[in-house]
């Protein structure tokens, strides 16, 4: 069995949500908040929500879009915000810029709606991440499969979703290692193409395991 040039290190991860002092009652205030909040807050409400509410795939996966729909009752704005695919972003600054542009365009086009009070306020929060090595490494595709199967939801989310910002590449820890350390570029690409918006973390994991199994099957 092919051995990797460098082992894959699996991590245990936990997130603490820190409640900020900023909140928004109107879409205009949401725009102010988006401009002023921390990078951690943008990350929390876009990337992290994919991990926390992953099993409700009918919901919009980012908090800004969900609030625009459920509390501000602006489906048009919600759809615009939800259309941002975090896989396109390797920088929070660029993501923030695009979020602000969408909300700002809405406020300019409908100033009377921008000042209307929503049903519930939007509270800006941010995540505090603590990571610890699980003490589990993979040197082969077989061991890698076992590791993925064992990972918690948080660990899976950390390696597959939040890793994009850490790597500053449009990929994830799994694909990065498969391509770089095992030379399995086709498998790496297939893993990276999985739609994380319409899948739960569990169904995403199942797809990855199926792709690995297909790779391991003798041709």
């Amino acid at each position: 069995m092919e051995r990797a040039t460098t082992p894959f290190e699996f991590y245990a991860v936990s997130y603490l949500t820190r409640i900020g002092n900023q909140s928004a009652e109107t879409i205009g205030e949401l725009l102010d908040g988006l401009r002023q909040c921390s990078d951690g807050s943008i990350f929390h409400h876009t990337f992290q929500t994919l991990g926390t509410h992953h099993f409700l795939t009918e919901n919009f996966s980012n908090d800004f879009a969900q609030w625009a729909m459920a509390d501000a009752n602006r489906n048009d704005l919600a759809e615009q915000l939800a259309s941002l695919d975090i896989r396109d972003y390797v920088s929070i600054a660029v993501l923030r810029h695009d979020l602000c542009r969408i909300v700002s365009d809405f406020c300019e086009a409908s100033p009377e709606l921008a000042g209307q009070a929503a049903l519930e306020r939007f509270y800006f929060c941010e995540g505090v991440e603590v990571t610890i090595p699980l003490g589990l490494q993979a040197n082969t595709l077989e061991e890698f499969r076992e590791g993925i199967e064992l990972l918690s939801h948080a660990g899976f989310y950390f390696h597959f979703i939040s890793s994009r910002l850490r790597l500053q590449l449009q990929t994830n820890d799994f694909s990065y290692w498969l391509a770089g350390a095992l030379g399995l570029k086709t498998l790496a690409e297939a893993v990276n193409r999985i739609d994380i918006y319409t899948n739960t973390l569990d169904s995403t994991r199942a797809r990855i395991l199926r792709l690995i199994d297909r790779e391991r099957r003798p041709s």
Binding site: A12, S14, L16, R18, I19, F55, E120, R121, L150, L151
Partner: protein, 409 residues
Amino acid sequence: MTEHAVSTRIPLDEYAALLGEGEIEDLRALAKPLRGRRVEMINSTAVGGGVAEILTRLLPLADELELNIQWHVMTGGEDFFEVTKSFHNALHGAPYQPTTRDFEIYLSYNETNISRLPLDSEFVVIHDPQPAALIEARKRNHNYWAWRCHIDLSHPNEAVWDFLAPFVAKYDGSMFSSPEFARRLPIPQYLFYPAIDPLSDKNRELSGDFIDSVLAKYKVDPQRTILTQISRFDRLKDPVGVIRAYRIVKRYFDCQLVLAGGGAPDDPEGAVVLKEVMREAESDPDIKVLDLPAFAPLEVNALQRASTIVIQKSLREGFGLTVSEALWKKKPVVASAVGGIPTQVIHKQTGLLAHSVEGTAYQIRFLLSHPDIAAKLGEAGHQHVKENFLITEKLKRYLTMFLAFSNGH
């Protein structure tokens, strides 16, 4: 000896079977750097109420991870608990005019407890307002103190909050059940959900025979629709409003209503509210008002499992763990959109929210008319609880906070 002993052992492997080995491996990894470091949890009652219940289950789990967490219960006289009950209601927004004497009583019992409790562990977690002033015992740079607020502080009585806030500001961090409960404070505020234990007597699977025996004991007919609210007899839980909603539903559906709850030693108001409820129920044989002992987990579990719909029509709520209990049992829930309830009941996804007696009745009628939707909501609710509101997740948050404190967050 001040430590409250909790003896039940809960093997971690039993959680792994329920939640997956990966979740437990994460806990083990996070606990490892904290082994041998001491934690103290302090609250005001050993039985009754959500905090005591959580701690009863959290400590054995921590033991399994070789963590050293001690639980201490502060002591107080009747006068102290009357004052703190008034504080509690006032912080939830009820009108209240505190007197200087009230503050003196509060401070005097906190001072007494400072001299009897150790308060010298590396991490000290204080639950709720009753022991909040224990922070005065803190030695500078000696250890980390966190204040866990289980109350909805979104509209607090200013006089009471102004009195407590300076104590809270001295902590290293605070924890709230929802972002809207948090106040503007000079210390970090973290989101901490309360939690239920899926393996506790209150939540574990029960045999059909046992459930039937509980229904028979309380003369509840298992063949007919059962609407249930489990909660303390407390005006903020609006048991009278539940009866009024039931009466509207009854015009359309044959049903029974179970109102079951118990008292807690720190809640002197319970008996008065129970009488009000009995009066409202009058002689309707289909309303079962059950004054359960403070600790009756198996009976509560059976009543929830036997229910067609579980109601939580609170007027104010810290979090409302009974909602998570019902959702864990895949029950459709109709609940008020107050406090931490919307965090658990995502409207039309994991249950239905209501804002009035009429709204509660309407949503119950809707679910009774559409059992397929009710089942789908119950299923999604179960998943939501599994991901967010279980004791293992709660312990993980504590470990994360302790590690974050140690890392300088």
